[in-house]
Every structure is written in C-alpha cells, then in structure tokens.
Symmetry: D4
Subunit: 218 residues, 8 copies
C-alpha cells in the first residue's frame, strides 16, 4: 500500500525497479523484495546500512549484503556480463561510492574494471592505468574534494565519461557541491554528471551505453 511497484519498468526503460533503501524500514524492504521476486530475476537495494541489512537477511537469506557499497543483491546467474565499464576514483575515501556503482553495474550484466586512488595530486598514477581505462566502453570517474580528475580523464579518452562528485571533503567543499560544480564546468568535452554520491545513477547510465555498444559484439 505504501509502494506502487513499477512492474513494467524493465519493459519501458530496460531495467527493473531498484529499491532505494534510505528512509525505508527493514520491513518495507522485505515487503518490496517479496513483491518484486515474481517478476524480476535480479534484485538490487542500495543505501542499506549493516543493521537494517541484518534484519532483512533474517527474512530473505537468499540476498547477499556488501558492507562497503551498502547493497543487498540477488544476482541473475544466467545473465551474461558484456563489455567493459571502467570505474576510476581520485582517492581512497571515494571507494564507497565506487562500489555502489560497481555492484550496480555488475547486477545489470556489465564487466567492471576498478582503478582506485589515482587522483591528480600524483597524476603519474593515472597515466600508469591509462591503457586499461581506454579499453573500456564507458568510464565512470568518481572524485570528492575538488573533483579535478574528471577533466584530466575527459581530455585523454575517446569514450563517454560519467562523472560522480562525492561528499568527501570539508569546509568550502559544501558537502560535494564543489566537485559537482567542477564537473559541470569541465573544460574537457564528453563528460556528463550525476548527483553527489550517486554511484547507482552513474552505473545505470554506463550500463545503458555499454550494453548498447556491446550488443553487436557478443
């Protein structure tokens, strides 16, 4: 009654509805998962903290919880993973958001390459990984503080870059508004941006693009 599950979403948009766990009770999550299970082979709930996950897992032990990405998942074993999405972070603290993206991309059937902690304070770390990044169909760049890494990557690759600002930083970082603005005003082209800390949204976009490109290749 509290939720109208959108059962035709996969049909309309290519992907089934995903549960945004923040602000939902364990009970509500359990209810929604049960209702979804009939029509979906894979299930994803994001923003589920440890204690809430524990409660859910008691009722639904077939789900898998990952504490870094704060996700609950049920994977469709038959889904073939295609293409390649690179997920690049500037720092160590951005990894939480990166893993939300990675888990989302994997559940949606994408191959993922992780390249973490290669921020521009030591730009040689990025150059050491450039070949790997260039092989991906889509690149997700995740950065807090000032988010400059996005513009550097954008100037070096010829595939779409999806930028995720994170709330890592303090003072005039303004809870991630600073890297968000940085990314929107990038002097490099080929970059589009999603909300602060929205690893899920970046992976969703990347998956759409990666699968469209890969369809012909598999």
């Amino acid at each position: 009654d509290y939720a109208k599950i959108d059962t035709t979403r996969a049909q309309r948009t290519g992907y089934p509805e995903v549960i945004y766990g923040s602000g939902k009770s364990a009970k509500q999550i359990v209810g929604i998962v049960k209702a979804m299970k009939d029509s979906q082979k894979s299930i994803l709930a994001t923003r589920v903290e440890q204690s809430k996950a524990d409660e859910v897992l008691k009722e639904l032990p077939f789900l898998k919880y990952d504490a870094v990405s704060q996700t609950l998942t049920l994977k469709d074993k038959e889904r073939v993973e295609v293409g390649n999405i690179a997920i690049v972070t500037a720092g160590t603290s951005d990894i939480k958001v990166a893993e939300e993206a990675a888990v989302t991309a994997e559940i949606f059937g994408n191959q993922v390459t992780r390249i973490y902690d290669v921020g521009v304070a030591g730009i040689h770390r990025l150059f050491a990984k450039l070949d790997v990044i260039r092989q991906a169909n889509v690149v997700i760049v995740i950065a807090g503080m000032e988010g400059a890494l996005t513009s550097v990557v954008g100037g070096l690759v010829d595939h779409p870059v999806i930028a995720v600002p994170t709330s890592i930083g303090y003072g005039s970082n303004l809870g991630g508004m600073t890297p968000l603005l940085t990314m929107l005003n990038s002097c490099s082209s080929g970059i589009s941006v999603v909300n602060i800390d929205n690893g899920f949204g970046a992976a969703y976009n990347a998956s759409m693009i990666n699968r469209l490109i890969s369809e012909e290749h598999i």
Copy 2:
C-alpha cells in the same frame, strides 16, 4: 601565440578541437580557424553572435553562419551521418540551445530528430511523439523553468538521456540553477546532466554514444 591548438585531440578523444567563440575577437577566431584548417576537415565555432560572425565571414567566406544556434561551421561533406539522436525541448525559448546541440551533432556526423515544445504543461504533446523519441539511440532533453520534462522522458525510454538545463525563466529560476538541480535529482534513472545552456556538450556526449552504437550498424 594566444592559443595552443590541440592538434592531437581528434586522435585522443575522437573529435577535433572546437572554438568557443564567447570572449574571443573576430580576429582571434579567424586566426584559429586558419591554423585548424590544415589538420581538420570540419570546423565548428559556437557562441558567435551575428556581428562577430559577419567580420569572420569577410575573411573566411567558406564558413556557414546560423543565427539561431550562433554557430560558424565547415562541414566535412564526406562524413556519413549515422544513427539517430533525438533532441527534445520543453518550450519555444529553449530552441536556441537545442539548435546549438543539433548543429554540433550534425557536424560530428549524426542524424538528428528535432521534437520541440512538448513540455509537461501539455504532456499529451510528448506522448504524441514518444514513438519517434524511442527510436533514437540517445535522447537530449532541453528545458528551462523547472526542467520537469527530463524526468518524464527518463521514465519512458530505454536509451540514455542527456539533460541540458537552460537559463530560460526568471526570479527563483536563478539563471538556470533550478532546472540544473531538478535534472541532477531526477527520480528517473538513466539521466546525466551537462552545464546550463550547454547544447554543445550534450551533443558531444550524445555523438560519442550514438557513433559507438552505430558503428556496427553501418
């Protein structure tokens, strides 16, 4: 001397450098076009107002000026237009930005479908065009005021949506910050966002995606 043209950009990122006309003199634009002409078959300058364009055209009559999109272009006649990018606007006033996107997409070798003035105040206008929009590989949604059209389109298509907020509006629209924030916080997935009025940037992203998808089809 005032500009270091990035002659290897096409190689690195897939597209040659584009001239951002705002704040450059006619003389500077002429100089840069001349320098580019050796290594590039197509040329694009954006944000060139009528009077500045007139001056440039005296020196470089082979360029074409379009007053709505405020672009100067030289088209590579041999480039094959592939795939299909839909450009959708909420209102009539958003057309300037839409045409900047359209001209950019066309110069980069994409087929473009224009669907203008289908904002949510009369949402049946959008539904009447949904089939056409769904056939595109990528959808660019351009909207000012509150930018709600993006979320509606995002919930109805299964291809990537690139959102462009425009500065159309007044008062608490804050020069386009309102639709920008709307688009970044969309409840629909599959949407990524570029800067306010950045038709060029949206087309650049869309072109990257469209051409990658289309490569196998042509």
Copy 3:
C-alpha cells in the same frame, strides 16, 4: 506565561490555533492544550515525536497520537466532513509529510483521498489515478528529490494544486530546496507552494478552499 494563546483566531481566520510541537517540551504542550480546551472543540499538535507524545498522553489521555504523521489530535465528532481534497505523493518516503497533511485536513472537517507513490519515474501510475484526482476540489502534491510530479499534475487538472516539497533526497537536493525551486518555477499554471515538509500548511490552505467551495453543496 511563555505563550499567549490566540483565542480569537478561529473568528478571524476560520481555524483555531494549532500547536507546533517542535522545540516545545511535553510540559509546555500539556499546558497549552489545557488552556485551549475551554474555547476549542478540536485540537491539533504537529511535529510531536513518539517519546514526547507518550509523556503528553499520560496527562491528557483523551488525545490520539499518530506516529506516521507525528500528530496529537482531539477530533470534534460533530463536525461534518465536506468536499474532497486529494493528497498525492511521488514516493513512499514522502508519506510522512502526506499524513501530516491528511490528519490536518481531516481535523479541519475535510474528506481526504490518498494517492501515494505515483511519481513520474513510472508515470502510468499517475494516469491510472487521474479520474480520482480530478474529482477533488483541491489537489495537494507532495514530492521530494526533484519534485517534477507537481508540474505534470498541474497540467492535467482544472482545480487548484498546492505543492509541498519534501526534504527526501541527498546531495544537490539541498534539504528540499531543489523541489521547492522546481515547484516555484513550474511551467504549469495553477500551482502555489508552501515551505519544505509543510504538510500542515498545505492542508490548511486546501481546507480553506475546499470548505468555501463545498459550503453551497452541503
């Protein structure tokens, strides 16, 4: 002494004073309710959390507490419920605010129709309920994230729409400032806006309108 109860408010504005519980102690609430009871048949306190409510109820067991809307109420049994106010939410998380509106509207003598979780990410859910919504004298639309639902509803009904932005969202949602700005800049007409999370205020306005319209009908 700490509060000057406005005993002529019902006379001046049509409705008695309501207790805004936030920042008041249980003791203060008890004191105010006692003072009000002489001149008012119905009583409403909003923003009262569970623990504070428990304390108040020990002293005033005739009040009813509702944990979702966080309200304490005493209902005037003789008041006839008139007309019809539709309360529409975009998501599940907006229900708290919706119930603050619903309880307020009911205590003020209005019939309420609840339509929850019909956000534009799955717009068919809204269309399925459009007939019901159109029958209402006034429509309250409650949405967080980007608040786009308001504009869509505004373009489809011919009765006044009162919009309530909620603080549901994260990052550039800015604690509800984003849907607030969305709603103020709506391209649809017939929409007016109240403060973030202000379910009470929306219901108050809607009640004024609904009762004025209904007066002739009952």
Copy 4:
C-alpha cells in the same frame, strides 16, 4: 513549427494557453495569436514591452496594450465577471506586478479590487482597508523588500492568501529571494506562494479558487 499550441488546455485545466512574451519575437507572438484566435475567445500575452507591443499591434490592431502591466489582451465581452479577488501591494513599486495580476484576473472573468501601498511601515493604512479585503474570496498580497505584509494579512483574513514576492529592493534582497523566503516561512497559516514577480501565476490560482466559490452564487 517553433510552438505546439496546447489547444485542449482550456478543457483540461479550465483556462486556455497564455503567451509568455519574454524572449519571443513580435513575429512569433503574432503567429501564435493568429493560431489561437480560432479556438479561443479571449487572448492574453504577458511580459510584452512597449516596442514589441507596437509591432504586434500593427498586425493585430484588435488587441489592447497596457504599458503598466506589459500585457496584450483580447477580452471575451460575453464572459461574466464573478466573485471578488483583492490585490494588495506593500509599496508603489510593486504596482507593475499587481497590474499583471489584475489584468490576468479580469481576462479570466473575475472582479478585482485594488488596494495599493499599504505596507507595514505604516500599518494603519492596511487596517483602513481591512473590511474591503475581508470581503474578497481570495486575497493576492504582493510585496518586495522583506515581504512582511503577507504575514500580517494572513493573520487577519479567513480566506486563502496567495503571496507574490517582487524583485523590488537592493543588496541582500537578492533579486526577490528575500521576500520569497519570508513568504514561504510565514508564521501565519493560509498562505501559499508563487515565483518572484509572477503576478500572472497568482491571478491564475486566485481565479480558479474564486470561480469555484462563485459558481453557486451567480
């Protein structure tokens, strides 16, 4: 081609489409008016400055231009004016916005009562007009600077108040953001708010309410 006129709007929302003149050329306005004339008996274009209006009037001499409200109108002579909307301003400089509201309300078939320059710096001016204001079905309060008048009126009337912040002021007025915030946070109930300088929007809402109330009375 640049505009899809929403011909079923009157049917859906009770009022025909209105032309928002800002950013449209005289030519475009003429085109839209001609297209509208077949299906509508009354026409309203707002935000049309003198010089643009002169051009339009050459082509369409049956329209009437009003320089204070910056409107072009064609009035449906047969429409009966009903009910009563009070339009109240704080200062002299707010009158432009007030007249946009007044003209809109009149074209939509409402009786209008104007009460101008009764701001709280001299609050006795308001009290002198209170009886007149209280007779209206709906009250529009228009104020710039700090917008305090709204809260005072809201505490004194028992009919809905629609508040319009104006951009009159300087410095930390922030182009009208200050009275907008004032109005959204009013300690009086029964107030809802539209965008800065949006006289049209306020009148549209007020008209909806006034006509619903008046239907039984005429």
Copy 5:
C-alpha cells in the same frame, strides 16, 4: 596561555570582556573567570550548557546559572539599573534567545521589560502591549520563521529597534538566514540587525544606547 584577557576593554568600550562559553572547556571557563575576578565586579559567560555549568559551579559556587538563557553570572550588586529596554519575541521558541538578551542587559545595569509571544499571526497581541513597548528607550525584537514582527514594530515606535533573527524554523528558513534577510530588508526605518540567535549582541547594543540616554535622567 590559551587566552589573553582584554583587561582594558571596559575602559575602551564601556563594558568588560564577556566569556563566550561555546567551544571552551569547563576548565578554561574556570581559569578565565578567576583571572577576570581581580579587575571586574560583574562576570558574564554565555552559551554554557547545563553539564558544563555544573562543573564550573563546583569550583566557583558564587556564580549563578540560568538554564533558559544558558548563562553563568556574577552580578555587581552596587550597579544601579537604569532606563528601560523592551525585549519582544514573536513566538515561544524565541524565548531562549530573549533570555540571553535579558540576562546580558540586566548584568550591564539596565531595566528590562519582557513582552513574549506577540507574533504577527495574531497581531492584536502586539497592539495590546504597544504602550509598554513605546515607553522603552530601546526595543529588541526577536523572531524566527520569517521575522515579520520586526517591520511591524519598526513602523510603530519612535525609538531604535535592534532586531535578532533566530534559528527557529525549518526547510527554507535556512537556519535563520530567512529572518536575518527579512530584517535587513525591512521597509520600516530605525531597525538595525545582529547575527542569528545573538541575544547577547543585541543587549550589548541596547545597553550602550539605553545608558547613554539615561545618564541624564538618573
């Protein structure tokens, strides 16, 4: 070592240094009070929460703690209280800030008249107290939410008004920024403003003015 007490402040500015308790440990406060006691007859520490105060009182039992204003004081019994400062609040929740002002004013030797909960939602409550307010040499007006009370008082008295915005409110109140902006943009003259919740600062200013006026009268 952590604090250089400004022992000549009373001489330069008329009042001794006051301890701003927020962010200081009980130990630091004790140390500063001890150092001050040699050169000052009265002592005032603001923003001291209950638990910190308890610790301080163990060491310095001659101080008096007031939990509403969160102040620790030592009063100079010989100081004559002069003149009259009116402290007016809009709501009940503003009383904390009002008491910080009242205690400060009293320790500085002023007579204080408290008029609480007379906000504009029920403006007759203010008019009932107008005579008392007009007798004061200076009026401090304290209000949260939208802060409109300040403008009304400013238009009715012929003595200086010092306005204190409070952080009471939610959503677009922005932690008190809204009433701050309201007060700075008041259409009434004779109003000056201090920081959000700064009851101390308002009383300090009022005291300066009141004592200068009163000097001749006592």
Copy 6:
C-alpha cells in the same frame, strides 16, 4: 493614487516619510513632494540620479540636488543641529554611500563628522582620527570589500557603531554580501548592521540615538 503618503509617520516614529526615488518616475516624485509639502517642513528623496533630478528641479526649483549622494532635499532652516554622528569609510569608493548617510543625518538635524578612507590596509590612518571618532555619540562605519574596519572600530569606541556594508568589490565579494556577513559576525561587540549600501538606514538609526542622547544636552 499610486502612493498612500504616511502622514502620521513623524508622530509615530519621530521622522516624516522619505521618498525612495529608485523605480519612481520624475512625475511621481514631483507628485509626492507636492503632497508632502503641506505637512512637512523638510523633505528628502534618496536614490535620484542626475537626469531624473533635473526633471524634478524644473517643477520644484526650491529643492537642492546633490550628485554624490544622489539626494534631493529641502531643509528645515529652523531645525537645530544637535550632537555628533561620526561617519567613517574604509575607502574612497564608499563615499557615495557615506554621503547618503551624511545628507540624511543633516536633514534630520544632526551634526556630522566625516572621516573618509581610513581602511585597515593602512590602520595608522584610523588611529590618527580616533580622538575625533570617540567624541561622537554614534559612529557609522561604511566599508566594502571585506568590511574589516567595522570590527577594529568596534573594539576601540564605547558608543554604538552602526555598520553599512557596500557593494564595492568584485568576484567573491558577491555584491556586498561578503562585508555584510563580516559585519554580522564581528568579534567586537556594540555593532549592529543595516542593508548593503543603505546609508539612509544607518543615518536614520544614528539620528534616533543621537537625538535621544542629545536632548538633555541642548
């Protein structure tokens, strides 16, 4: 008709109404001055630019125009100037605002001492004038850029300081918001603040205080 002159203002607040010229036509100003002349001996209009003033002076040659302060005045020759208000500016560019304050203070019957261009970049300039400043009953400090002068003066005088931020500056000065915030957060006590560039408002407050103090002395 466009203006309700507040003829009892002097009685209520001690000073007659002042004409805020910005946004009023020469014609409107002429009309208001004529209406005022019956009940007022002195007249003040602020924010009147040269060309508008010229038009007004043709009709009302008895007024005096001052181009620096942008004021039109008629002085009550019989009014005795009392006390002493010091007007201090940080820079040369702040003088426009300072003169609006000075002219206002003089028309209201105050003696004014001008101390200009003594900003903290060369703080010895302030110390050279400190004796003069300390003799004033009230000090108005006017500063743009970062507004630091206010805090320094506030720490050195024992009379009230009224701070006026100006819009002088660029970039992150944000049109005067930066010195406004500086002044509101001053670590010195005894400072209250008016709106950006509001020389009139500062003088109004200062005049109230100065005259109250001076009453006994003359």
Copy 7:
C-alpha cells in the same frame, strides 16, 4: 580629500600603494598619481579601461597604458628584475587576468615567464612546458571554467603555487565561484588562493616570495 594616500606603506609592507582604478574617475586617478609621484619611483594603476586611460594620459603623458591588462604604469628604470615567476593559464580567455599579474610582477621588479593556454583538456601542452615552470621560484596558475589545472600543477612542482580563479565560463560557473571553490579544495598541497580575477593580488604575493628567495642570489 577623497583619498588618504598611505605614504608609509612601502616601509611597512615592502611595496608602495597601488591605485585600484575601478570606480574612480580619471580626475581622481590623476590627482592620486600626482600626490604619489613625490614619494614613489614606480606607479601602478589597475582596472583602468581604455577611455578613462586616454583622459589620464592627456594630463600625465609619462604613464604607459596597456589595453590587455588594463593598467597604467610608470616603471622605475633602476630597479633590478630578479628571480623568476611563472604565470600559467588554462585558456586564451584567462590572458587578461594573467597580464594584470604579469605587469604587476614586472613593475615590482620580478622576471616573468608566460605559459598560456595549457589547460587540462589537452594536458600534453602542460607537460611540454613543465621544465620551464619548474625553474620558477613561484608559479601563478590562472584558470576559469572548473579551474582543474591548478591541482595538476600543484602535484608536479616543489615551489609555492598561487591560484587565481577567473570569471570565464557560464551557467553554473557562477561568475568564477566554481573555480574558486575548486582551488580552495584542491587535493594537491602547496596551493593558496586569491579572489576571482585578482591577477594583481597573485602577483603581489608571488613578488614577496620571489624577492625574498632571490635576495641571496643576486
């Protein structure tokens, strides 16, 4: 009278007073230059537009005007230029600010190396100049849009970096607030920041550092 020239500034801070031309009349600039000429061998006026400069030059033909940097200068021929300051810009449009910095640095006796248009969209342009940049004692990095260049340079050099955000950009660039925030939140260390477009301030800081380092070397 309108300006108190700070004749001991060179003594106190190492550099004489500089004229900030914005908002000063040609006449005022002439007056100040004349007063300065007695005590200073070099003179610098910034922010002087062409037409104002022309007027000044008529009176003071010994000054030199530079239209790009908008400066008027008189150079102390005997001053020895020492050390080396690198001035690096991201784009062509940042050159105006860069030249304000360069002219300032030169008049203060520093050697300047200009490296323009090496933004991160084509980062190889920066690497090609890295040796030259590393030889400087101080590096000034000037960038608009998103300002990412600063972080990259900061991670590659072992001398202090002074960052200047510029107002080049549009939309969510917010008049340079975006690169300002970027630079303040840089993940690279060794960067400090001055106001938007403040080429002068950056050069002033750089000069202080460069001359201190160079003193031993010359």
Copy 8:
C-alpha cells in the same frame, strides 16, 4: 589495494605524502604508515581523533599523538629546523587549527612562533606582539567569526601572509564561509587563502616559502 601511495611525491613536490585521517579506519592508517615507513623518515597523519589514535598506537607505538592538533607524527630527528613561521590566532577557539598548522610546520623542519588570542576586538594585543610577528619569514593568520584580523596583519607586515578561516562562529558564519570570503576580499595585499580549518595546508605553503628563503641562511 585501497590506496596507491605516492612514493615519488617528496621528489616532485619537496614533501612526502601525508595521511588525511578523516574517513579512514585505524586499520587503513596502520597499513599506510607501514607502507610509508620504508621510504620516509618522518610521518604525519592529520584529523585523527583520540579513539582512532589509541587503536593505531597499539600497533605502532613509535608514533606520537597530540590531542589538540589531532595528529599522529614520527619526527625525523636529524632534520634541522630553519627559519621562522609565525602562527597567529584571533581567538582561543582557533587554537585547534593553529596546532594542526604548528605540528605540520615542525615536522617539515620549520621553527614556529605561536601568538594566540590577539583578535581585533582588543587590537592592542596584536600590537604588543608585532615585533615578533615581523621577524617571521611567513605569517599564518587563523581566524573564525568574521576573520578581520587577517586584513589588519596584512597591512602591517612585509612578508607573505597565509590566511586560514575557521569554522568557529554561528548563524550567518555559515560554517566558516564568512571568514573565508572576508580573507579572499581583503583590502590588504600580500594575503593568500586556504580552505576552512585547513591548518595543514597553510603550514605546507608556509614551509615551502620559509625553507626556500632560509636555504641561504643556514
């Protein structure tokens, strides 16, 4: 795996990588320290709260924890401390940030002079220390509230000033944004700014400058 330590940073930028403790687990800090120990003689971790430090110290007892600055350090005993950096604070509450700066400067081999609590509310406290401050090669000024101290110091010294705004304050202090803006807009020259509360960053810059100046002196 979660961190790519930048082992060539000392070579590139003069200083080894520093651990930013905020958001890292004790375990992660231990891991990074161990990895660093091979290539670095001194180690610095900032933003480590007491409880986290205790855990780290169990594993790495050779580190030293300082609770005021919240740093963990290992000092290179052989490093010679050179030159002189003055660290000046406005208030007592700014000392935390000052000590982060002091510890950083010391670990980087600089002599440090501490001058605390000399804010402009009692400016004589600053003048009493001016000689000491003037002897330093670089001055770090740390201030919250309105940050005015920076401008005063900047006008009195002839060496570079690095300004650190702190988040000390309340209301319109906006978490330190106010002193940040103050410092960026200073009317004094020779000031550059780092992020709010960034004591580390200020010391890093100061150290670079101090050591470059001192190299010739030791």
